[in-house]
Symmetry: C2
Subunit: 143 residues, 2 copies
DNA sequence: TTTAGGGTTGCATGAACTCCACATGGTGTC
DNA sequence: GACACCATGTGGAGTTCATGCAACCCTAAA
């Protein structure tokens, strides 16, 4: 499903050295998207697993602590709600569900992402123009 | 020259609340691009001025201290070189010039930006699919 | 007993940004 | 003459935010 261009090995990382740690802070739309796609409440653990496959993380499983913290923030903002599931057997776990506000937020995120995208594209065009090279067809990390 | 979609007023910021402070850390390719376009050494002050008009800053003049710090970092990395210009009249000021390494870095940045762009687009498609809405033509902050 | 599933907190680190202050020098104004 | 303001460069303190690591709790299966 997700098939992004993510540098997998060291030489790719070298080539895309500038990538660095940018484009963080986007775990929130990723989580919103996962919850919206599932359409049922999800456990935090599953969210962490599935987030790893999202374009934002590209196979690298994000730190669980970070995701749980983000989930907490999102609940405080009203984008999701959580409740404890206490089965007769097994340990208790939280179930996170999208709220209407969260769905609305995701809708705005879609526009915001388009905005980001356009900004990046403009910068890329400016840079190409400045170097006098013609833009190839998204040679994304093409090593 | 630069004409990005940047929320100008408060209501736009509300609508694009998720924008927050993401997409920072991109002052480096912006500076590289400015220097590459000028093709002559530039003063830091001018860089600050022109950076304000770039897609990344969208009219908001970035903090000069931050830009100067970035310039220093970039010089340490060998992407630019600077020398003092000491005119007979007026105060001394630095002239920043792009190095070959800097030009090479900008070339990699172009690929990296394409990579970012693709990631954002994928996430956006996933989000739209999850919400069951069809993607309009980049309605970037369309309020 | 170890491993895996599931959740949480604390602490340290680091990057990036903001605000503030301080230089120097020119121009303009009250 | 004092004051303000733009041009120009720099340093420090403090904030915010994300990252990563370690530790802690639980249960269940192998």
């Amino acid at each position: 499903m997700w098939s992004s261009c993510n540098p997998k090995n060291d030489s790719d990382l070298q080539a895309c050295a500038e990538l660095g740690k940018s484009l963080n802070r986007l775990s929130q739309p990723t989580i919103l998207t996962l919850l919206a796609k599932a359409d049922v409440p999800m456990h935090g653990y599953i969210i962490v697993q599935q987030a790893a496959d999202s374009p934002m993380f590209g196979g690298t499983k994000p730190d669980a602590a970070g995701i749980y913290r983000t989930l907490k923030r999102m609940e405080e903002s009203g984008f999701i709600v959580s409740e404890w599931e206490t089965p007769d057997e097994g340990s208790a776990r939280r179930l996170y569900a999208l709220t209407d506000k969260g769905r609305e937020s995701l809708r705005r995120w879609i526009d915001a992402l388009a905005c980001y995208r356009l900004t990046l594209e403009e910068l890329r065009e400016e840079a190409s123009g400045a170097l006098g090279i013609d833009l190839p067809e998204t040679p994304c990390c093409s090593i």
